[in-house]
Symmetry: C2
Subunit: 367 residues, 2 copies
């Protein structure tokens, strides 16, 4: 088991990463001196509950905690105010009080939803993250919690830091291959924005990571979470630096939106977005090797790097404009400077974006 401390002053918290941690949930609750007098609410979804809920409940109950659970439908639609209110109802009816904890057992959707419940119930109770996806190594660090409004994603939320993150690598063994690949996309991103050595390590260990070798995965998650934690510690409320975490996301979000959320997993879409950002950088004078190395890395994880030909260029542009706003036909973009380093530029033009979309449609569609 490894521990990563996220340094946020009096809101600092540890991320515990290791095998079979869910079975030790009770011991970790005791280590954090969480009271046994107040009930614990575990929020999870229909995919995760059959796999992991029982062992968390058994562990907490063995340590003397009283637990209740609320299971939501797996998938993005559960990140709604309606479901949020249902979870609140469970919390009130179960007698949760100010000393209670709300546990997010699952991936990003459950983390965002349960996190906003924890942030808002009685104006804030303890929040414990138990991520069960690789992608959640990203979302479980940083304290961004939210639900969606029907008009836009993540519009209603808070910055709310957990008491601890219990990241059980064993729970990842049941993930479908495609989700593993897509989750590792964010890990590679953390290398690309911050740490050349870690990026190279990712490239060298793609096979072991894809086959979920526990030791390798544990190291990769610690490093990935570590990059995220450093960036968040420097900019908790997203005033500046934190924007570098959006490498690949500007075009990535547009691909997700244009594909109707479902055709592309988040990690796949940002993989294409990272390839596009590297290509824009090359057009602006960086060496071609920067793009080639980025593509090689991502393809090593079986991730897509070409633009799907059926996605309409105008629709992609329009989705980007909806997401970010072009000012006088210019948009803010995170671009690589070299492997392991990025910059935020605010003058990428519509024409530059159109050019890479077209060029990436001509690339080999490797997925």
């Amino acid at each position: 088991m490894r521990t990563l401390e996220v340094d946020l002053g009096d809101r600092s918290y540890p991320i515990y990463i290791g095998g079979d941690l869910l079975e030790q949930a009770g011991a970790y609750f005791e280590r954090h001196e969480l009271t046994k007098k107040s009930p614990v609410l575990i929020v999870t979804d229909t995919n995760v509950a059959p796999l992991h809920l029982r062992k968390v409940e058994v562990s907490l109950q063995s340590s003397g905690y009283r637990t209740v659970h609320h299971i939501v439908e797996a998938g993005e639609p559960s990140k709604s105010l309606a479901v949020f209110e249902e979870v609140m109802t469970t919390a009130i009816e179960s007698g949760l009080d100010r000393k209670s904890s709300v546990v997010a057992l699952g991936g990003g959707v459950v983390g965002d939803l349960a996190g906003f419940v924890a942030a808002s119930y009685m104006r804030g109770v303890n929040f414990i993250q138990m991520p069960t996806t690789i992608l959640a190594h990203d979302s479980s660090v940083g304290g961004k919690v939210a639900v969606n409004h029907r008009l836009a994603k993540n519009m209603i939320g808070a910055f709310y830091q957990p008491e601890m993150v219990l990241y059980d690598v064993s729970s990842l063994q049941t993930l479908p291959n495609r989700e593993v690949r897509a989750g590792l996309s964010e890990m590679v991103k953390h290398g690309l924005i911050w740490d050349q050595q870690f990026t190279d390590w990712c490239g060298d260990n793609a096979g072991k990571l894809l086959s979920l070798d526990p030791e390798t995965l544990e190291y990769g998650l610690i490093q990935g979470c570590g990059v995220k934690a450093k960036v968040v510690a420097a900019d908790e409320r997203e005033q500046g630096l934190r924007a570098i975490l959006n490498l690949g996301h500007t075009l990535g979000h547009a691909i997700e939106a244009t594909g109707g959320y479902g055709e592309y997993l988040h990690g796949e879409a940002i993989s294409i977005g990272m390839a596009a950002a590297a290509l824009i950088a090359v057009h602006r004078g960086k060496e071609a090797a920067l793009y080639e190395r980025t593509v090689e890395l991502l393809q090593g994880f079986g991730l897509p790097t070409a633009m799907p030909v059926h996605l309409d260029e105008d629709q992609l542009i329009s989705a980007m404009m909806h997401d970010k706003k072009f000012t006088e036909n210019k948009i803010v973009f995170v671009l690589p400077v070299q492997i392991g380093k990025v910059e935020i530029v605010s003058d990428v033009t519509l024409d530059e974006v159109r050019r890479v979309i077209a060029e990436l449609k001509g690339e080999r569609q490797n997925v």
Copy 2:
């Protein structure tokens, strides 16, 4: 104009109290360097909008701010998640961004609702309070914002501090007499828990306060807000000391609940609650003068201090138990030690509460 600084580290903010401040809203926005590029959302209610909305809009627009407004029905039912979502819809449709401000123009309901919108929209935007009631001198300090759940009040919310409070004493001139009296009840409470000298001043100036003499009101509000601000600064997230603000509230809430919210205004109910707390203290050994002085003060404001005879004792007790939980028939209570000083005791028994309910039913019903 007087300024009171609420000292909360990097969340500190000023309360400006004076005449005709709503007409100067634009200048205060400029003083706080709020951007003119992002729209401002003013949340108000059907009572306040006809009286004050126009002048706030005119002032902001004259300074170059783009404003939109959302008017909710006056009254507690607007503190719901459904109305919260409607305000969010207005915010999104009006293009509010992260640099936008949400203004609460109104009393406690509007402040709580708009405050939770400001806390949650895009994970938090600027929040500006413009209280238009005397009671709001209490709720506008402290950062407690919330909406109600159908099962319990104030269950969903946040601690979220405003950027500034613009307290226009002129806007209070249109308040009904009964609301003035009830609002002044919290002002007297701030004296009773913290400051003997201010309490005496309240007693000596009851007439001027009730007739809304601007100078007197300004001084009283500054002092009342000042007590609240000191207590909140010492205990922002309600871990301990802040509980002293609940003087009169334990029984007061029960009176409100038993009367069906509407028969008694909040300030009237806590006035009876403060009399009850003083009487319990006397039963526990304090001099009778403590109770007599408390009653004299409150009656000087035309506030009730006797227990309404038609309120059922068992129902009152049951409402208290719902609100606070008796542990082994004992309840936490804020009791006066002397005028201007209180203590938190955790061993008030059911019998003691029943005794004062009975005794206060026998007192002169002065309202």
